[in-house]
Subunit: 220 residues, 2 copies
Amino acid sequence: MASRSTRDNTAKKSAADAATALWSPSASRVRDRERKREAVIQTAARAFRARGYHNTSLDDIAGILNVTKPTVYHYVENKEQLLFECFQTGLAQIMAGFEEVADSKATARERLSLVITRYAEAITSDFGWCMVQAENQDLSPAMSRKVKLLKSEIDQGLRKLIRDGARDGSLRKCDDKMTAFAIAGALNWIAHWYREDEPLSATQIATRYLELFDLGLQPR
Amino acid sequence: MASRSTRDNTAKKSAADAATALWSPSASRVRDRERKREAVIQTAARAFRARGYHNTSLDDIAGILNVTKPTVYHYVENKEQLLFECFQTGLAQIMAGFEEVADSKATARERLSLVITRYAEAITSDFGWCMVQAENQDLSPAMSRKVKLLKSEIDQGLRKLIRDGARDGSLRKCDDKMTAFAIAGALNWIAHWYREDEPLSATQIATRYLELFDLGLQPR
């Protein structure tokens, strides 16, 4: 067994290595680029929500960020891709909810509850508007297909949890497609009325929605 | 008591009067105008849904109806008013649901169920898209106010039924605002996915949604 001081030294050394790697010029540049890219996407999400997609130009977004338009083009190819990135960032939060419960031994009811909470949190985030409105913005056929594919993944994930619940007895038997549509629809609609000055937090909204769906899906 | 033949003659006379009035040139013109106006609104609702509001011109609508653009202007002032008429026609179907139960002695739960069914029927009608999308079409401030006012009436109607249910014991106590938002959101979202070739009828969809909400609002 290694002595305490040896272990301490080893720990110190690997921490130092990690720090060196993290702050090396190239790692720093990568991190910096990623952080700037995220800032461009978040700024775009807020601008699209505030002014609408068609009323917002890449010039506007560059203006808000106080950079030039070529700088914005450094991170995204065009405005449509920017909208897609906003859409995808929001959806990734929901997908993270599905991943969180993927290996869980909890009942389908409990897993669905967690996914619904993450969904509500994503929809009330800066990306909520883009998640819900992306489809209505005259996207190119290729982009439209990508958006539909990602939305379909979420839909299929919800349906599976609803079917799992009928199987493990934690939820009542029901039309999984219509139930998934009703739940996702109610959650998506939050983007239409949610404002930053809303007195309820995302979690408080999620709790109230969840109560309705959870009771509505109780086994009889 | 009047003899049978007198009654028959009176009935015949008033029926004849009614018919005369109905088919008099002026009544016919009014009826005809109303019918043509409805055709313009329904055609517009379908065109807006199929192509989007901004991609549809009054020329397009005149073309579909095989009339001139001035003929369309005979029924509506401009395209924005036409969108509003479509919106209002859909909302009127929901309002009719509220009126249907206004004097009813049924429980709030039963009254809410009927309103939800009428709501689902309205959203799956030709006017569903306009009901849900009108707000997102860069309306003038005046038109935007009118749209918001009508939507608020529906929202307040739902909230009142939910509160009535807590009072008469037919529904559980809950956050009436969030519950109304969740129900209306789920129903509104139908307009995003519903297509005319959907295998489920409006009533079948309504039944499945209703089951979820009805059970979700059962008193404990």
